[in-house]
Symmetry: D2
Subunit: 243 residues, 4 copies
């Protein structure tokens, strides 16, 4: 959807959709003629003489601009899901609840295909919008309740970000391949402990429950220190495997 | 290389290379005849009557068994690199120093192709062994010093796990596409601050420096608590982008 | 200074200085007559019929109300200083720079006596005000530069919260008893490493450098989780002992 | 009990009980004559010519040598209790269960007096031994179950390290002064949530629940980094106040 990024010296990004029209920003405008000739890594000038570097938008540039609901799964937690499961271009995944898609679009970027279940109609629309925005082709969005069933078979990974993840357990069991991963993401401990308790007597093995913390550092001359404010908590990841 | 995994009730995994021979383990042996008929998710029995579940090895199963040198980059840090960069099946990556390949094999699992630079001959051999073990096809292993140059062009991601990462900066600049990511992983702060200082005057923007902490929890009836021992530190990730 | 605390049902505290006058607050007023008869743990009523519980102010109540400058040492770090040194009612301490006194007043609450050095006149005045407010008797406030010398002898603990703590090292050496503790608190790593490097060839042993992190939890029915926001960093504590 | 500490160059401490006899250690022996003349901060020589520095044992030196049971409350948590409550030489405290006394002896070092309840006879003996070792005078050790009652009145602080802390709530209520602190220390979340739930309808306000994490750093030339291993968890502190 976005054709170009124009980057200012201060690192500000401007996303250009239409290269057939002049692009206006706080530094003046770049002509359509210049936009059409623009090449990644080369500078263009605005009418005010400001230089902007042209970049080709990558997945991560677009991803960071998708529309989001209030509570999305953090990048640190998504990275952890990928690192724990080793999913790749051959993997088939199922995700619920879709929300704004922060998780399913990231997984789609790596997997062969993914289906996301979302019970709310407004979120389903948001998912469709974001899918279009990202030009994602390997995502199926279903306005369905995953507690009532999973249509897919031979799934390699199921991710649950749900208030009562245990209600999806028996459906996940049917949908997953032997050795497939089931990961539940919950903000609160009672959800975690009820989910783990529900695993008893199922073919799922509880591999681990963990939380991931990220600490950002200021690195500037002698000011070398962690930032004062930190994200203290997002959610707990419970990682299971169908055996 | 490995054809099957046999999984015991306690979660112990046995890796079977040759299905044309009986497989012996602590629970007795499984006959070659049974191994040839084995299907994922179905049980086989040992001569002692023990049931073992058959699984098809996935990337993560094999990855967790590659031969490792003393200091490898942790899964939590690999997940973070993937989450920060959004690499996918179209990405071209370069990695140095290769070490035992913990990072480059994981990236290879997601990327289109990756080249890893390793100066030590013994580690180069280890990389070749692990490459064979994982049946990885999209990895090029070079027994070369990355401080002396990077042959690849149009690279999307370069990861550095080196004692003096700043010595690779000018080569990384030439190899990366505009917008490409450069990530340095260092255990000690002076390496981080020297690397960040060396970015001045280059086309690289310092996006962030961070550390990732992982906290595992025990979830068992009323014993719901973080584990007593924790990995307190691996390394700092410094994430830059060529602009 | 404060004679009474009046506590509302919601936990709001009102500090009463003068029990010879009616006390007005958002819940109405309590008469001087009632204030004079007030006993800790017993309720008084405002003219509007609101019940307020009477409490005797303790050190911690008053301490939490002292006037503060922008950067004060956190309670978690103060607790750590006390736990590492085992100071008690026989201990003699020296502190610099005094700042608003968050550290020296807390130590004064436990020690026999403490002297605080503060180079800025405005902070010295603030320290005097806070000293009066807390009715602290065992504190000497000096408007002096500790880099130029420490007058006290036989000191058990010296705490430094200074931009260049190494400049106080030779004075600390003279002032401390054998076995006495020297603790430096610094926000940035280069301060820590320069201070530790300066210890070489002195009678000080570097026991440890550490940071203390505090994670608050929400505990309410099924909402049992760490709070989203967290104080990610205050400072590093370097703990030394004169041997 | 211990009269002197002899400190080697490498920081090894030898505790001398009897200065009327020669003291033997790995560096040879120091004569009784030399021990009797020994002064803090001055060196003595062994018969082998090794120099040892004489130190007067302080509370923290002795405290670090008390006999301990398997699970003691960590220094970081003790520091936090002191920092949250502002206890001082006028404070009266009650502690249960006493265990080996790690908490009650530390509090005794600061408070006016403390009583510790311990139900097990073997631990009560251990407490008595440690009390003698520390020459602590302001501690009363009771071989009693605190669930059955607290004899003390007008207590400023009660600390509970018990499997079912809620069973002591009604006794704590009677024993504490208005405004007094009640702190429960529990390793597991269900203990925390049951305790907080039990506070409803009592005069206790739940101020906060928190955990304290300590991260030690290696500071040596360019090796400036957190240590690899870290204590990941001890317990949760729930801090309440009687209002």
């Amino acid at each position: 959807m976005f054709k170009l990024i124009l980057l200012s010296k201060e690192g500000k990004k401007f996303f250009v959709k239409d290269i057939n029209a002049d692009y206006h920003c706080q530094f003046g405008f770049v002509t359509a003629a210049d936009l059409k000739k623009a090449k990644p890594g080369v500078e263009v000038k605005t009418n005010k003489g400001e230089s902007l570097v042209v970049l080709k938008p990558t997945f991560i540039d677009l991803y960071q601009k998708i529309k989001r609901g209030p509570q999305i799964i953090a990048a640190k937690d998504i990275g952890s899901i990928i690192a724990e499961t080793g999913i790749n271009k051959t993997s088939i995944a199922v995700d619920a609840g879709g929300g704004s898609g922060a998780l399913c679009f990231f997984l789609a970027n790596i997997c062969k295909k993914i289906t996301t279940y979302e019970i709310r109609e407004d979120f389903t629309k948001l998912l469709e919008e974001n899918k279009k925005f990202l030009s994602a082709k390997n995502i199926t969005i279903k306005n369905k309740n995953i507690y009532e069933g999973i249509d897919e078979k031979n799934v390699d990974l199921i991710t649950l970000d749900l208030p009562e993840p245990w209600l999806a357990l028996k459906h996940a069991e049917k949908a997953l391949v032997p050795g497939g991963f089931l990961i539940s993401y919950s903000p609160s401990i009672p959800q975690v402990s009820d989910f783990v308790a529900a695993l008893k007597g199922t073919p799922f093995i509880h591999l681990k429950t963990k939380e991931v913390l990220e600490r950002k550092w200021e690195i500037e001359e002698r000011k070398i220190r962690p930032f004062t404010q930190m994200l203290g908590h997002t959610g707990f990841l419970t990682i299971c495997r169908k055996m």
